[in-house]
Symmetry: C2
Subunit: 157 residues, 2 copies
């Protein structure tokens, strides 16, 4: 486990305790996955990965915990048009994403001009802007090479 992942996990656990909530083995495992994963896992994927170590774990527990961590401000959700969601526990604040329509991979780009554009939007509209959502969709370098077929962001529906 990397140092940054450890810090993220500690932050999640600290918020839990600060709210008087209990740190169960299931929660610890889910939070650890959220803190470590660089692939923006979905609730269903987390559940499938955790079944190995917790054979009886319920999907409801995963959904509950992921929502809990989000509500504690320690993960952010990327909700897609097909109804599926993916989560990022490494960067719990809003940030842009690039989604591969072929393999479902999601990466975090660095976009220096984002702050300026947010200010431009506020100035042009008069809105007080609280948050945002920015997602690009396309084909990742690997899939461009391989010319694979499209795969949805959600495994099964």
């Amino acid at each position: 486990m990397s140092a940054t992942a450890r810090k993220r996990l500690d932050a999640m656990a600290a918020k839990l305790k600060a709210s008087g909530l209990k740190l169960t083995p299931q929660r610890l495992a889910i939070m650890r996955l959220l803190a470590e994963s660089e692939d923006h896992p979905g609730a269903d994927g987390i559940w499938r990965r955790l079944k190995r170590r917790f054979p009886g774990i319920s999907p409801a527990t995963v959904y509950r915990t992921v929502q809990l961590v989000k509500s504690l401000g320690e993960a952010c959700e990327i909700a897609f048009a097909d109804g599926g969601s993916r989560y990022d526990g490494r960067k719990p604040y809003p940030h842009p994403h690039i989604v591969c329509l072929a393999c479902g991979r999601i990466i975090d780009p660095e976009l220096g001009s984002l702050g300026d554009m947010t200010r431009e939007a506020a100035a042009a509209s008069g809105f007080e802007i609280k948050t945002f959502r920015l997602d690009f969709f396309g084909t990742c370098p690997e899939c461009s090479k391989n010319k694979t077929k499209t795969m949805p962001t959600r495994r099964k529906k």
Copy 2:
């Protein structure tokens, strides 16, 4: 009906015919709403507005038609995290939005730096970018005013 709305409606009807589909009164009414509305209506809102003129119109017909117009490339969908969708038949291509969290209003801002940012994302990631989704969330000027009037200062609880 404005000239631009007429053009949009004509484009929708032309695509329909080009695909060998039929122009029914229900479809015409739904497409007209999509072509005219500046408020980004949702399927349910379209259905409620249309019930006046078509008392027996089915929600399924509205869902079907909105999806059809979208699949013809004549409307774009803004899908939100709560599962709901709003549609824009005036600008059928991807474009940014600003959503008021208080009243639900959605506007189309002009953002000159968007093209540059898309190129920045492509260059930084190596992805071939096909489309995007950009939504800002905040409070519109009217709701900002009303909020300060009715809730001048924070009271103790």
